[in-house]
Symmetry: C2
Subunit: 365 residues, 2 copies
Amino acid sequence: MATRNLLLLPGDGIGPEAMAEVRKLITAMNEKLGSGFTTEEGLVGGSAYDAHGQAISDADMAKAMAADAVLFGAVGGPKWDAVPYEVRPEAGLLRLRKDMELFANLRPAICYPALASSSSLRQEVVEGLDILIVRELTGGVYFGEPKQIIDLGNGQKRGIDTQVYDTFEIERISGVAFELARTRQNRVTSMEKRNVMKSGVLWNEVVTATHKAKYSDVKLDHMLADAGGMQLVRWPKQFDVIVTDNLFGDMLSDVAAMLTGSLGMLPSASLGAPDALTGKRKALYEPVHGSAPDIAGKGIANPIAMIASFAMCLRYSFNMVAEADRLEAAIAAVLEDGLRTKDIMSEGKTEVGTTQMGDAIITKF
Amino acid sequence: MATRNLLLLPGDGIGPEAMAEVRKLITAMNEKLGSGFTTEEGLVGGSAYDAHGQAISDADMAKAMAADAVLFGAVGGPKWDAVPYEVRPEAGLLRLRKDMELFANLRPAICYPALASSSSLRQEVVEGLDILIVRELTGGVYFGEPKQIIDLGNGQKRGIDTQVYDTFEIERISGVAFELARTRQNRVTSMEKRNVMKSGVLWNEVVTATHKAKYSDVKLDHMLADAGGMQLVRWPKQFDVIVTDNLFGDMLSDVAAMLTGSLGMLPSASLGAPDALTGKRKALYEPVHGSAPDIAGKGIANPIAMIASFAMCLRYSFNMVAEADRLEAAIAAVLEDGLRTKDIMSEGKTEVGTTQMGDAIITKF
Ligand SMILES: CC(C)[C@H](C(=O)O)[C@@H](O)C(=O)O
Ligand SMILES: CC(C)[C@H](C(=O)O)[C@@H](O)C(=O)O
C-alpha cells in the first residue's frame, strides 16, 4: 500500500481545536478501518513565530515537502499584529503555497440543505447551491516583484505590488478548471478585468486558447470580475465552476462562501501538479474560515470546515472516494439531526460544542 | 450667478436613452425654475471610436476639462470587443477620470424602501440600508506602470500590471471619507489586504495617521478586503462609510450595489480636489450600471440611476441641496406609487418604459 503520511499544522486561534477533531477521526479510521495514516505535527503562523521567530521553520517546511498531504488549521490574531511583515502569521501559509507549488486552490461553495435558512440571502437563491471556485494560488499580485515600500523623502512613501501572470500559469489553472467541470455540470466561467488589466487580457486569451485546443466540449463563458461578484450575489446558481486569479479568487471565494450562510462549514484544497513519474501531487487542505481569535479556546468553534477539508484530502490525495463520500454524508446527517455549533445555531436546534460536533460526525461515519 | 455648464456624454448602449431623461429634466428646470443650465454634448466609448477612432477625442476631453460638471451615461458593448486595447470603450472613461484627476469616487448603496423585497438578500438584511463607498479612482493597478504584455518567446507571454499608491493619494482619499462620515454616522471602515500587499500596508498606515492627525472624532475600523466582501453580504448595515482602493472599490461597490436589489437605481459621483482659489472641483457623475447592450434601444432601460446621478451633481457641483433633495424624493415617490421599469418589476406594480419613468419623476419634482 502507498504511504499515507500527513503533516498536521494546526496553527493559531481555533485552528488547534478544529484540528483535534480531525486527529480523533484519523485515529478512529486507523483503528477501525486500518487506514494506515501516519501523522507528524508542526507549527505555523503566530505559534511558529512565538516558538522560533519565523512563520514556519525550515524543518517544518521540509516535513511539508515530504508529506503525502498537509492539513492546515488557521493562522493569525491580534497578538501578532505588530510583528514584522516578513514573519507575520500569513507568511507561513504563503510560503507553504509557494514552495510546494500549490497553484490550484479548489473552493467549493455548497449550501447544506439543513442550513439554507441561515444564509443572509433568500432561501430560494441559495438552496441547493453547489459551485466550485478554482483560484490560481501561486502567482499574481501575491508573489509578483517588485513588492516593496519605498521612502520618497518629504514624508512621502510609495507602496508597490506587481500583478504578473505567464501563459503557462494560466494554462495549467484553466486545465484544472476544465477537468473538474467535466466531473460536474461541464460549465466554466472565467473571471478577470481585461478592460483594465493587461494580465486580464492575457488571462482571457490563454483560457480561450486552452479551451479551444483541449476542452471544447466544456461550455466556457467569460465575465468581468466585478460583474462576477454582482452575479454571485444576484443568482449564484448560474455558475458551475469559476476560474480566476489569486486576488480575484480571494475576494470572490469569500463572497461565495458567505452566500452559503455557513463559513464555518467550507473546506478547501490546494493542489500542485501531478509528478511526471508517480502521478502524486503535493497538497494542502484548509478550512476557508480564519483563526477567529475572539472565540478561540472556548470549545465552541465549528470543526466542520476542518473535517470537510479532511474529506477533500481523502478524495484528492488518497483516492479514498468511498470514505470521502461517507464523511461528507456524516456531516450532512448530524446537521439533519439538528446539531449546531454556536455560529450556525438557530431556533429549535441543539447547540453543541466543538468536541461534541466532532464526536457526532465520527459516530455517524 | 456662477456658471452651470454641463457636458453630457451619453456613450453607448442604454446610455443615450437614460441621458435623454436627464436632458428633459434640465430643460424643465431651466424653464420652470430658471436654473440657468447650459449644456454641451460629446461622444465617449464605442460611439466615439466609431466616429473618430478614439474612445474620447481631444476636443471632447477639452470640453470635459472646461465644464462645471460632466454627466456620463455608459460605455461598451460586444460591437467593440475586438477593438485594440488602447481605444476600447472603457479607455474613454479611464482617460476622463485620470486627466480630470477625479480621485474620489462616491458610490452610495441605498436600499429604497419600495424595493427592499426585490433584493436577493433577505428583506431584514437590506431594508433601510444606507452605506457610502468611497473608492480611490486615479491610482492603483488601474494606472500603475509597467502595464504591458511581454512576448517571452517559446509561445510564452507575460502580462504585467502594477499596483502603486503614494502617501498623498491615500491621505486625500481618506480625508474625503472622514469628511463625508462626519455628515453621516461618523464611522469609516478602511479596507485593504495588508497581509499580502505592501500597498495595503502603506494604505493602512496612512489612513491611521490621517485619522489620528485630523479626524480622531470619527470612529475608524480596518478590515481585510476579502473579509469586507463577506461582511457586506452577511450584514451590510454594520457599515457607514467604506474607504478603499481603486480595484477593491470596483469589486466591493459592485457587490454593495447588488445588495440593494436595484442596480439600475444607483448613482455615483467622481470628484477632484477643490481648486485652491475658486474652491470649485472637477466632477463627473455616472450611473453604476453598465451599457446593457442587450436591452439598448428598446425603451425599457431604467433611467433612475442616471437621474439620481444628476441629483448628486446638483448636490456636489452646484450646492443645489434643496433641488437634490426634491429630486431624490421624487424618485422615491414614483416608486411608492408603484411605477417600475422592467428590471425592477414585481407583481401588482405598474410596468413603464424609460420615458414614462422619466416623465413621472419630472412631474413629481
Ligand atoms: C490568510 C491570507 C493570506 C489568505 C489569502 O489572502 O490568500 C486567506 O485570505 C485565504 O483566502 O486563504
Ligand atoms: C468600465 C470600467 C473600466 C469601470 C471600472 O473598472 O472602474 C467600471 O467597472 C466601474 O466600476 O466604473
